[in-house]
Amino acid sequence: MDALPRRLLIANRGEIAVRIARTAREMGIEPVGVFESSDAGGFHVGHMARSIDLGPGGPAETYLSIPKLLKAAESSEATAIHPGYGFLSENAEFARAVAGAGLLWIGPPADAIQKMGDKLQARRRMREAGVPVVPGSDAAAAAIDPSDEELLRRGAEIGFPLLVKASGGGGGKGMARVDRAEDLPAALEETHRVGLSAFADGRVYLEKFFESPRHVEFQVFGDRYGSVVHLFERECSVQRRHQKVLEETPSVALDPRLRESMGRAAIEAARAVGYVGAGTVEFLLDERKNFYFLEMNTRLQVEHPITEETLGLDLVRAQIEIALGAPLPPPWRGGKLLPQGHSIELRLYAEDPEDFLPRSGRILLWEEPAGPGVRVDAGAGAGTTVGVDYDPLLAKLVVSAPDRRSAIERARRALSEWIVLGVETNAPLLAAVLASPEFRSGRYSTDLIGRLPSRARPQPPDAAWIAAALAAGDGGSPAAPAVSAPARSRDPWDERSGWRLGA
């Protein structure tokens, strides 16, 4: 294994930038951060040894700017770059540019990113590798880029409802559900447009639509020497608007035999593109327990911590070591790795818990859960400004316990300790999922959230009105002017300093 870099540039923000910085520090590597000028107060900046200002212009001009990121690495003398997830993490051009600049890329080969990024190409490779894919318009015989006429014909064969997908899309983006044949032409046109504008790739394809499937993914790891292993599954079926809200491992939907065949398929998928490093193979699992390849994420996954918790590993450390040329740890290859207990991740989003629309504002109060079996990976805290230009993920709560039932109870306990004021969050939705009989039974699918009973907006109890009045600073009140700030005192010093309590 090559020597550790002295400095690592983390080309990201939010919780994942903090997550990566923590492992870097533990390895004796200086984490170097980046930020858009207006994001200088970003939570992640406080966790870096130093941070580089990428200038103004929003994400496009900063976190997504390859030249600016390379310049930041140069000016900070960082010799390695970790992209995190999102932003440029699955951009083959960036991976090449980093290597081209003589820097260490903490990620898979650019080539593998490209092959998996092109969904049509990826599906073809999977079929060739014998990995089942979701039935679609691009069957073996089909043309790579068929005409809309041909797609309309294919659509009729596949049957409705079906999904129109952009070849460049993924993660719920560039995808439209079509229920009736007559809506297909419009959907094709829209998807062509989105594909072109978002991914500079207008090619689209059709996929069979499953009413209530499960999304189960497998963590895979490959090294430079051709070994590829899987680190078991993550159940990701709790979604809203095609985005994950809660993940757990192990999945109650898998028995040992199914786990083994899916795991093998995941390894085959990675092998098929010469994969090195950490990746995730997403499968769709239908009611009859048939599984189909959906896509492969060629980066660290948001929900990687539940795998870390059940296996007692640090996946970011493994990414760095493998990028430096280390082989996969022997126990991983020897099949000695066995998950212990059950782990659940809850994603706290700044969004309306009912309509899932993002919320912005400033976090005025932030108290995190803690204690046994509780891990919090936060990208926000008291004082953090939540804007509209970035992902609304505030933090991840990861709970672990000996079994699924106690993990769920632990998640509910921890969630009830989480206090966030100033920005609305999806905490009530998370609580509703944890309380739903469907989730607790384990027999749920991607339509779980849609089927939750609508939650009546709770009326504030008397104590809440009283607290509000106290905080509003009713002059006449003998109580503190603010419920969460110290009372006034006669001491002129306190008068001004008291307010600073716990700030």
């Binding site: 983006k173 919320r359 100033g422 809440a464 509000a468 509003a472 006449g476």
Partner: protein, 158 residues
């Protein structure tokens, strides 16, 4: 003072450990940690509470839920950061904070119910803003590239 939450709006007066909530008298007591109140006992029940005021909004955590109260500003003080509500505007409101990516209609155009008038991008997703009814676009309050708050008027249909 006058406080509102959701649809309800009442007068709250606190005096010597008794709160008058819209006229209803509720005895209460508080428990502090350091100097901050962290619990309120009311009606024989004890609630952990937190509350923070910003501008004319008071955010409260109580009974493991959060609530957002609005207060009527004292005479003279200027109103600040009130999120405009549908009531404040006759027109088409932004459903969330975001960036106007495309505007697909011009002032004077005849528009039909459901027609996409503009595309709002927020959190890496595009949201179509559609006309609520048939009519004519009489006002366009935003342009492509604009950053808009939730609830602000984007356009007006007659």
């Amino acid at each position: 003072m006058k406080l509102s939450e959701g649809e309800s709006s009442i007068d709250v007066v606190l005096e010597d450990g008794v709160a008058s909530l819209g006229g209803r008298a509720v005895p209460f007591s508080t428990r502090r940690s350091g100097a901050a109140i962290v619990a309120i006992e009311a009606g024989g029940e004890s609630f952990g509470v937190r509350a923070v005021r910003e501008g004319n909004r008071v955010f409260v955590w109580c009974a493991e839920r959060t609530f957002e109260f609005r207060m009527d500003p004292p005479a003279g003080a200027k109103r600040t950061r009130v999120r405009p509500s549908a009531a404040d505007s006759g027109g088409l409101l932004s459903p969330m904070p975001g960036r106007i990516r495309r505007v697909l209609a011009a002032v004077g155009d005849a528009v039909t119910r459901g027609q996409v008038l503009m595309v709002l991008e927020a959190m890496k997703m595009e949201h179509s803003i559609r006309s609520p009814r048939d009519g004519r676009l009489v006002r366009l309050a935003c342009a492509e590239g604009d950053l808009v708050e939730a609830g602000v008027a984007l356009a007006e249909i007659e």
